[in-house]
Structures are given as C-alpha cells and as structure tokens.
Point group: C2
DNA sequence: CGACATTTGTTTGGCTAAGAAACTAACTAA
DNA sequence: TTAGTTAGTTTCTTAGCCAAACAAATGTCG
C-alpha cells in the first residue's frame, strides 16, 4: 500500500517508478550479489519490470553487472552489485573541539574520514561555517579527483535543529538561531547538491539504522553520551523529529527532585545523574571540554584497575541511566536502545546495572522486547549518519540524474 | 513522493489509484462542499483525473453531488459532499464496569452510542467476548436495518495489545494473552468485515487526530486519566505503536524515587503521583472501580466549593502531571498533549499548575511549540477512536467494493 | 553427441490510469 | 446578442506494469 507521509499528496506514474527503483536498489544493497530473477522472485515485481528498472539503475551507474553464476542447471544468471564508485555522500560533524568529515560511497564504504581540531566552544557559527566550508571544499575536490559525483552534504550539530535545518540553540557551541544550511550553501557557492543540517543524535540514530548491527530494527533509539544527553528516535523505519524537530531531548527528564543540580538549573535531570558530567564531577571537576576524552580514558584505566570508588560511581550512574532508559522504553517500545558516545568505553561497568534497572521498570512483559546495546560505530557515528542522511534520500527514490 | 512504510514494497497502478482516491476523499472530507474544479486546483491532479476519481467514489457511494453553486461568473459548479449514508464503522470500548459501542458514518457523525454495564473487572476475556459479540450483533443489525454496510469493527482495550491485536496484559480487567480479535471474529461468525483490537489510549489519540480540535496536528499525544495513565502517540500523522505495540506506557515513568508506592510495587511512578488514584487515595481510599465516576464528581463539587485541602491536592497532582508531560514533550516534541479521561472534569484545577511545570521543564525554546490541552471528546474517546480506526483504513485507500 | 529440461533475461502486446488540450456547457455582464 | 468566465467531459497521448511468448545458455540423460 502506498501512503504519502506528508499529507494528502497525489501520486502518479513517476512515483511508481521511483518507488520501484528504490525497492530494487535496496534489495540489491541487502542481497548483493543477486540476479534479476532473484529480484523479481523476492519483490513480486514482474521480470520484465525488473529488467527495465535494472537497466535504468545501470545507466545511472548505481548498479553494476559482475560475472555469471557458477555451474547450475539452466542459463547462468548475471549477478548484480551496487556500484558505489561514481558517487559520494558527505557527512560533517561539528563539535566542541573538532570538526569531522566523512565521505562514503553508495554501499556505505568509508572513503575518507578526516578530523580537524576546531575550537567550536569559542567560535561563532559564522567562523564554523568558514571552517566547515574549507574542509568541505577539500573533501569535494578529493571526491571530484576520484571522479565521484557528490550527492549531498549533511552537517550534524549538537543542539536543537528545527525542521528547516536552522540551528535554534547549541548550548555547548554557544550558538543561537543560525541558518547553517543556508550560510554553508552560500559559502560553497551553489554546489549543485543539497546541503542539510540536523541534530547529531538524530543522525547517529540514522547511522545505526543503516549501518549498525541492528539495522533490521524499524524502531530504535540512539542515546548520545557526551556532556549533554540526547536521543535520536527511529520509529516505523524513519527518523521521527516531532512537530518542530526537537524530539529526543531526554537529557532533562527529571529523575529525582532531590538529585544534584543540573546545568539547566533544575535538579536530578537524567543528564545530571547519568551524563558523562556526573562521572567527571567526581573525578575531574575542572576538566575543559577538550580534555574530556583524556579524562574518560583515565576513568576507564581506574575502573580496569578495580578501584572501588570508581566502580561504585559507575554502577550508580548505570542505575540512573537504566531508569532513564526505562522511561524511553516504556514510552516508545523500541526494539533496541543503543548507547553511544562516551558510554561506549564505559559500557563494561555501566551496562549490567543499567540493564537490570531498565528491565525491572519496563511494564511490558519481557521488557517489551527492548534490548539495551552499545554502539559499535565509534565516535564518528553522527558524521556517518550525516552521510547516511544523503544516501537515504537516494534510497527513497530521488536518484541522481541520468548520465 | 510515495513511500511504502512497511519495508520495500513495490508499487503499481492500483496503488496510484488508491492513493489518489484517498487524496480526493480526504480533500472532500476537509473541504466539503467543494467542486471537482476545487479538488483539481488544490491537489494538483488533472481535471480529467479528478472527474474519473470522483465518478468512482460516487459509484461506491462515498461521495454525493449536492446542488449547484449560487450566482457567480461562469458555469456553476456541482458541489460534492461525503455521502455517509450507506456505511458505518463500529467502535467498541471495554472497560472495568461497562462496554460502550458507537457507530459513525463516513463523516464521523455519531449514529448511535450505547453503553451497557458489564463487570469487566471480574469477568474473563471469554465472557467479555460473549458480551461484546451480543452488543455488536445488535449494533450490526441496527445498521443493516438502516441499509448501511458495516466497514469494520475495532475494540479498544485498556491494556497492552501487541501488533497482531492480541491482548497481552490488561491489569484492570485481569486478562492475559487473549486473542480477542480472533475470538470475536469467530463469535460473529465471519462477519465479512475486519475485526481489530487496539489499546484504548492509542485509539483515543486517533479520535483526537481525526475529530478533535487539533486534528491538523501531525504530532500529538493523548493521555488517559483513569486509574492507570497511558498515552497514545501520533507522530508524522500516524499512530506509532513501537516494536511490539506497547508504546505510550508512561504510567510507570519514575518521577520521584522517594514518592508514594505505586501498585506496580515501585515508588513515585507518574501514575502514583499524578493518576486519578493519587487523588482518590486522599478523598475516597476504599472506592471500587465502578464508583470512580461518582467519587470524581464529589471531588469536583468540593473543588468548586473552594475547599482548601482539595485545591492543594489538585495543585500538587497538577504539578506532578506537568513534570510527566514535560518528559513526554521533551522526548517527542508533539504539537499538543491532550489530557483525557477523568483529567477532563478536573482540568480547571489541574491544568494551570501542570502547564507551568511543563513549560518550565521543556528544553526547547518556547516549549518546543507544545501546548497542553484538555480533551473535548468526552469519555467515549476510545470507542470513537476505535471507529476512527476503521475509517482510517478507508481513508488510506482500502475502499469498499463497488456496488 | 543430441534431444530435452531448466533457468535467465528480453521482447511483444495489452492494459491501467494520469495528463494535455480541445471542446461543450452553463452561467454573468454589458 | 455577444463576449467573457468557469466547470466538467472527451479525446488522445504517454508512462509504465504485467503476462506470455521467446531466445539464450547451460546441465542431464539416453
């Protein structure tokens, strides 16, 4: 059944074509190498239709024929695979102390991953645009040199990004009301591909949804573990941004009215009791943002050494985290909640407690089938998701123009 | 853009037709009376296509031509309206002390609204099926007498209902693992229309989404105010049920580890500090479920009289409720949170406090545009939503067969 | 080895349904 | 009466899916 998801929009033949092109593309992505006959059999599309769709996709160099099948009864099949080579999707993540750029091909293979230090915490949005544009230009020129067409660029920002891609507030960067997408487009002088901006947690969720081990889950939540705690929500296979794009702001869910003071001014917020800050408040109260990674390494070292107070601290944080995740699981019933950011290195000491708390608090029998897992995508999840955002629009049928 | 929302499903012409029929149907629902020319102009469909679609819908008696327009320049337009008369959708709500059945026509006009007392709290699911089937048969025969074709029947159950319509747990009814949809279909002996089961909060949310004053909101949350507190979540225009169908279980979000004990055994759950039970625990600790309505009336009377202790109690509950709703608003960023059930009569004394707490706690600027409102649909919201569930499948293109 | 079975992918023709443009219809205004 | 305006239909074209026949390439078995 076809359903337009942004209100009553009529459909026509080009929509059918786009839908079916996307179906074939996604099928090959998941089942490569496969033959036209496989596609027809599995999708229910007619063989003739599949041939036509595949021809179109080969013309656009999204698919490529590889060799034939080995000895079997009947005519050997021509196998098809994704042809990543002529395209690239760019994701950029801006953060307190660095900017990361990644480029991936259609398959999601990482083509480059550049990190460049940048004083995000003390720079204006304008300065960030200049820095991002410079980095982006280098990435674009590298891609061009490799004869790849850039399909799009998405920027991941730690903060509230509205549905139009304007950054409303980015507390750690000190930005307010910045039209990042517009300014960056201008700075790149009409680059000929879409430039988008989205929240980092949203994009990390997208990365998990496309590349992670739980990519089959239609409902998942990604939780960032930085100084701030945010979430990206995928429900029914798509990112859900809410009315204005501010969904997933779980950091200030109040878990304990008698808890410690949060930087938002209230008490006992999830962020204050289970954020990375809650750990560092005990171990390195004066750490600057750029030292976070080092400090966390130190916490990991001490936990490995079995230091009692650190272990107790982590258990405590884990329990609070579990309580917060129980709220998430109760409200959204996702298949999986994925912990990211600095929760990843700390996971060995956090997750058991968190899981126990969570499962004990989820109302649905068997926890509603919701698991608590740790991200395997590393720190670059948001940048990777930003690139995935570009691929998503290809997957939903907006194919690059024919050669 | 067409997007199939349950995985990669190919599209063909019948999908285009179904989509466009649904577009026209929805347009007329929202803009009746209107002419074919209006439809073409607003939807972007070609005039010829609209004529063909409208002819089809008139054939199926979903639309009807009314008179012509009054004197204007040019040929007068034939106006179109929804033709509710030949169809009916049935919604049934089963509860602790009664079963409600409503029937609506295509426009959502209520055709009947029958309430029948039923000891849900002490009856088995099997007994409930017998009672529901008896009631349903009377409704069906009444509809048949009125020459209406029944398009479907949906049952609203206060409890966890999985994605297949099985009731996993319904604490207040004492049910577990009941295949209500299957059993009711059997009891009705192959009724020739779909029989579905869903959670009451989900369906009430659907009722608000279709009939309520905020029907334009693509993102809304409906909160039940009964002994239990649950939510139905609409995001991007559709009900979001989560992985197994258990989304919206906000009643046991833990707001205060030092709070009063909840019936789930833990402390400080939203339900325990802001549920209706939290009020009655102070005013009528021994009330049985069937006396709830009376007891709430009594609370309203005393609040109207300005009794200090009652007002303080309601303010306190309102503040806790506001904290819970802040968690909802932060996580989902809906356009509106709608309070239902017994919160409605108590709203005059609850909402101001709740709003204040909520707005103060929502991180997004301006509360993320999220308002707190009170349901205007009355106690029958879930039953009405159950009927709306049936209309939804018509609206998404599954039209009844041609005459 | 050759006839036959099996499987793949293409070609042909038919059908559905949307769109463009011309046309008919029914009115107002002057 | 004539011109202008808007509504809705008719006719024709086109996109694109499907079914069925067919061509191609291989294995199998007598």
């Amino acid at each position: 059944m076809i359903t337009s998801h942004n209100g009553p929009q009529p459909a026509d033949f080009t929509d059918v074509r786009a839908t079916n092109l996307a179906v074939v593309l996604r099928f090959v992505r998941e089942n490569a190498p496969c033959s036209r006959a496989d596609i027809a059999a599995s999708t229910g599309l007619n063989k003739a239709t599949v041939s036509s769709l595949v021809a179109d996709l080969i013309d656009r160099r999204l698919l490529r024929e590889t060799g034939l099948t080995e000895h079997r009864v009947g005519r050997p099949a021509t196998m098809l695979v994704l042809d990543g080579s002529p395209y690239a999707a760019i994701g950029i993540e801006v953060n307190v102390d660095y900017i990361t750029a990644v480029a991936v091909d259609l398959k999601g293979e990482e083509l480059l991953n550049w990190r460049r230090s940048f004083p995000g915490g003390t720079s204006s949005a304008g300065q960030a645009v200049v820095a991002m544009a410079a980095l982006a230009r280098r990435v674009i020129s590298r891609m061009t040199k490799e004869a790849r067409q850039v399909l799009g660029l998405t920027v991941a920002v730690p903060g509230l990004v509205d549905v139009n891609g304007n950054v409303r507030v980015a507390p750690n960067l000190g930005w307010r009301d910045a039209d990042l997408a517009g300014d960056l487009t201008k700075a790149l002088r009409d680059p000929g591909f879409p430039v988008l901006v989205d929240n980092d947690a949203n994009l990390a969720a997208l990365a998990e949804h496309r590349f992670g081990p739980h990519r089959n889950a239609a409902n998942l939540v990604y939780v960032t573990g930085e100084v701030g705690v945010g979430a990206g929500i995928v429900m029914d296979g798509r990112l859900r941004r809410g009315g204005q794009g501010y969904s997933g702001e779980i950091g200030h869910i109040e878990l304990d009215p008698a808890g410690p003071t949060c930087r938002c001014g209230r008490r006992g917020c999830l962020e204050a009791v289970a954020g990375i800050g809650a750990i560092l408040a005990h171990t390195a109260p004066d750490a600057s943002p750029s030292e976070l990674e080092l400090e966390i390494d130190e916490v990991v070292r001490r936990a490995r050494n079995g230091e009692r107070d650190i272990l107790a601290l982590l258990e405590d944080v884990g329990r609070h985290l579990g309580r917060g995740m129980a709220a998430v699981a109760n409200m959204l019933n996702p298949e999986v909640v994925i912990l990211g950011g600095y929760y990843v290195p700390l996971a060995p000491w956090l997750v058991a407690c968190a899981e126990e708390e969570m499962y004990g608090r989820v109302l649905a029998p068997g926890g509603g089938g919701c698991r608590l897992e740790v991200s395997t995508l590393g720190y670059g999840a948001a940048a990777l998701g930003a690139a995935a955002r570009v691929l998503d629009s290809v997957d939903s049928g907006r194919l690059p123009a024919q050669r």
